[in-house]
Each structure stands twice: as C-alpha cells, then as structure tokens.
C-alpha cells in the first residue's frame, strides 16, 4: 500500500471525478431544483461567479446529490462492507424523497461509489477511510474555497457536457 497522504489524495481525485460526472450527467447545473438553490445561485452570480455553477452549488446544498451519495457510500463501506454501501444508498434514496427531489443523482452516485470504493478496498490498494477523507477534500474544493472560481469551473465543465450530449438542450 502507498503512503496514507498520497492514498487520500488519489481517493479525493476518484471521488471528485465520480460525483462531478454523475452530477453533470443529471443536469444539476441546468437549473435550480428548489427555490433555495436558485437563491444561492443568484447570490453567487452577484459575487462574480457564473449562474450555472451557482445552480449546481445550490443544488448540492439543498438536496442530497451525488456528492452526498459518494460520502455516505464510503461511510457505508467503511462500517459494514458492501451491504453497508447499499444500505447507505437506500437511506440516500429516502433522503431524496424527503427533500422533494425528483432526480436520482444521489442514489446513482451512491451506488456507483459503493462499487468503486468496495473494489478499491478489495484490490488492497486503499482503505475505506481514505475515501471518506477524500470525499471531504473533494467537496472542500468545490464548495469551500471560493464560490466564484468553483462556479466558473463548473460552468466550463457544463459547456463541455452540453457539447457531448446535445439532445438535452431545450
């Protein structure tokens, strides 16, 4: 096994890729799911960020999305192995229902993350706790450093995604 700090950073990158991909696929930056997300997006835009990035940040705050799914999947695999991760997916699904969220970004992200984390632990290269710390670092880079820069990065990734899957654009 590699050294622990390096494992945590690699796990952070894997978690970042997992939750960004699922969230972009589920069109989180397209619009605010609930009124709270729209409010956050408008405030981010007033501060100098991009609106699409603000929508995604608002959606992450207001409802359990793939980032929450990835975190709870890592916690599930750490506490109880593969069944733990799937139990966490069930809880994320219930959480989505409670928050009136019509999408399934959270549950999908949780299931993919369960298999990724379980596979990584079984392969012997990682420990499940690396993914918990890694996910917290990943969400820190998006929500916790600078909303202006993060929203610009998300808006740029959203443009790339729209070019790849053009039939979804209205």
């Amino acid at each position: 096994m590699l050294d622990e700090p390096l494992r945590i950073l690699i796990a952070a990158l894997i978690c970042w890729l997992n939750f960004m991909t699922i969230d972009l696929i589920f069109k989180l930056p397209h619009s605010g799911g609930v009124s709270g997300a729209t409010a956050i997006a408008q405030e981010v835009e007033k501060g100098g960020g991009k609106l699409n990035g603000g929508y995604m940040m608002g959606n992450i705050v207001s409802s359990p999305d793939a980032s929450a799914g990835t975190l709870l999947a890592s916690c599930g695999v750490y506490c109880a192995g593969l069944p733990g991760g799937l139990f966490a997916a069930l809880l994320v699904y219930i959480g989505n229902r409670i928050c009136y969220d019509p999408g399934y970004a959270g549950t999908t992200g949780c299931i993919t993350a369960t298999f990724i984390v379980y596979g990584a632990v079984q392969s012997g290269w990682f420990a499940a706790s690396d993914f918990i710390a890694g996910m917290v670092i990943a969400i820190l880079t998006i929500q916790g450093i600078s909303s202006v820069h993060a929203s610009r990065l998300i808006a740029r990734l959203w443009k790339v995604r729209c070019r790849f899957i053009p039939e979804d654009k209205p």
Binding site: G36, I40, V61, Y78, C79, S129, I132, G144
Partner: protein, 80 residues
C-alpha cells in the same frame, strides 16, 4: 489513521469561513462543508453498522435544514 484528522481540520476551517462570510446565502456552501466533515467524523469514530444510519440521518437532516433556510430567505415556495 489520519483520515479523521483531515475531517476535523476541514470542519474547523469551514466553520471559520462560515462565520467570516458576510453574505447570508454564501454562508450556506461553507455550512455544507461542515456537515460533510462532521458526517465523516461520525463514521470514523465508531465503525458499527448503525453508525451508517446515524451519519445519514445527520447529513439528510442538515441538508433539509439548509434547504429550509435558503427557501425561507428566498421568500418561500413560489405559489403556482
């Protein structure tokens, strides 16, 4: 096992950013980071299957709470 130290450090950093931010709506992403970090701390302290339920309950509860704060600040649900 330094994973729990990472989570604790990020929690403190994000809590300071929450307090230091002036704009109310821009505090909410930092509060979200605090929730992520504390969920991680809960899971790392006690690896028991029921801990998953406690961590998920805490996280969903805090998401619901942030959603309610943002919605109420924005003027509530828009009447159709």
């Amino acid at each position: 096992m330094i994973a729990i130290y990472v989570c604790a450090g990020i929690a403190v950093y994000a809590a300071i950013r929450v307090i230091a931010e002036r704009n109310t709506m821009r505090k909410l992403p930092f509060l979200n980071v605090v929730s992520f970090a504390v969920t991680g701390i809960i899971a790392l302290l006690l690896p028991h299957p029921i801990t998953i339920a406690a961590a998920a309950a805490y996280f969903v509860g805090s998401t619901l709470e942030s959603n309610a704060i943002a919605s109420t600040w924005a003027g509530g649900i828009k009447k159709p």
